[in-house]
């Protein structure tokens, strides 16, 4: 007989509950099962109304982020056997409003993300016939790390500043802004700086560093924000001391 492990899953059904409750399910404990497999087992065999997001099951779509035993994790990359004999607590990502069960409302992030212009901004757009904007491997290395972000929201969930002040632009959006600032093909750094050089932007970050520890893709948003602060400070000093043409 297969061993089982207890999953303590947060349920929130707004049509009949005013606040979340916890429901426990015993799921098979297979060596190759992640927490997400346990949730899928519940949905397929025990309670089809359980709601949660998932898609790729290989740590790239960024949909299945949840709190697993109090830590923000991709549930497809968190294996049940790593939690001993259990029980394993599965909760919706902390710091976000809960829509239903394990589904959180990320529309705040989706509103903020385009504001930092996470795409290549050009002052002088070349015609398509001129070919690609070429880039050396060293130039690519400058931003590659920050381009690994999968928008999974684990960094927001780990960030106490975002939990206390939802107006804070937040780690992933700033790291993505930095990803394009460091891209040799981009010319939009000035525009993004204007958007992020305010108290709810880079200066909202107090460098707790939990975003970097939570990131499943090694992006280091905390590092991106601190580098951005240095750039912003130098920019302010230059604009104070240098004539316009020399900045």
């Amino acid at each position: 007989m297969t061993d089982t492990i207890a999953l303590q899953v947060t349920r929130y059904r707004p049509d009949r509950e005013t606040e979340p409750t916890v429901e426990e399910f015993a799921v098979p404990l297979h060596n190759d099962w992640a927490v997400l497999d346990g949730l899928n087992h519940i949905k397929d065999n025990m309670d089809g109304t359980l709601s949660y997001r998932w898609s790729c099951r290989m740590g790239i779509c960024g949909s299945c982020g949840m709190m697993v035993n109090g830590e923000p994790k991709l549930t497809c990359a968190s294996f049940l056997t790593d939690y001993g004999r259990g029980p394993v607590r599965v909760e919706p990502l902390a710091g976000f409003p809960v829509i239903r069960d394990l589904v959180v409302d990320i529309s705040d992030f989706l509103r903020k993300l385009p504001k930092v212009k996470p795409w290549i901004v050009r002052e002088d757009e070349e015609p398509v016939g001129a070919g690609e904007y070429l880039q050396t491997p060293a130039q690519m290395d400058a931003y590659r790390q920050f381009s690994m972000c999968i928008n999974c929201m684990l960094c927001y969930s780990a960030c106490p500043v975002y939990a206390l002040d939802p107006d804070f632009v937040g780690p992933a959006a700033i790291a993505l802004a930095q990803r394009y600032n460091l891209d040799s093909r981009d010319q939009g750094a000035e525009v993004r700086l204007d958007l992020l050089i305010h108290p709810e932007g880079i200066w909202g970050c107090t460098f707790v560093g939990e975003c970097t520890r939570a990131c499943p893709k090694g992006v280091d948003p905390a590092g991106a924000i601190q580098r951005y602060k240095l750039t912003a400070a130098l920019h302010s000093v230059k604009s104070l001391l240098l004539p316009r043409g020399a900045r």
Binding site: Y12, P14, P97, T206, V208, L230
Partner: protein
């Protein structure tokens, strides 16, 4: 169904769905949940210790410049047990402030030499080395007779 201030309507095709999200309250003791959160709050609080250290230093400089009775009075005041305890606590906070500050320098500073990124340990190490040199210089100025 009751409607609350955070409710919104989501549309998918022709269907409209009323959404009543649950907003979890932030626990007052959230900063005790993790060691890193606790250190973060202590580091934020260390600014009070920095302010106290600056004030104490200014009072010391004034006492030294006045000399005589004023300086003797300052020394008597500074030896009071509660001032000593306050200064020990402030010193601990200042160390926390300085060490966490130096540890974050590699995160903010990316230096490239001959195409290679200078390792973070070298950047933090240089900051610590600078700290030791400046401290030694200050100690030499203060302690020489």
């Amino acid at each position: 169904m009751t409607t609350g201030p955070g409710d919104f309507t989501e549309r998918a095709g022709d269907q409209a769905y009323h959404v009543r999200p649950y907003r979890p309250p932030v626990n007052l003791l959230w900063w005790l949940r993790r060691r890193t959160y606790l250190f973060f709050v202590l580091r934020e609080l260390s600014c009070l210790a920095v302010a106290w250290a600056v004030l104490f230093l200014m009072l010391l400089v004034r006492a030294v410049s006045e000399g005589g009775d004023v300086y003797a009075h300052f020394v008597t005041w500074a030896r009071m047990p509660w001032i000593v305890v306050l200064n020990v606590v402030a010193f601990a906070f200042l160390m926390l402030h300085a060490i966490t500050w130096f540890n974050l320098t590699p995160a903010a500073t990316v230096v490239r030499l001959r195409g290679q990124r200078v390792p973070p340990a070298v950047i933090a190490g240089s900051a610590y080395a600078g700290w030791v040199v400046v401290s030694a210089l200050v100690a030499w100025i203060v302690l020489r007779q």
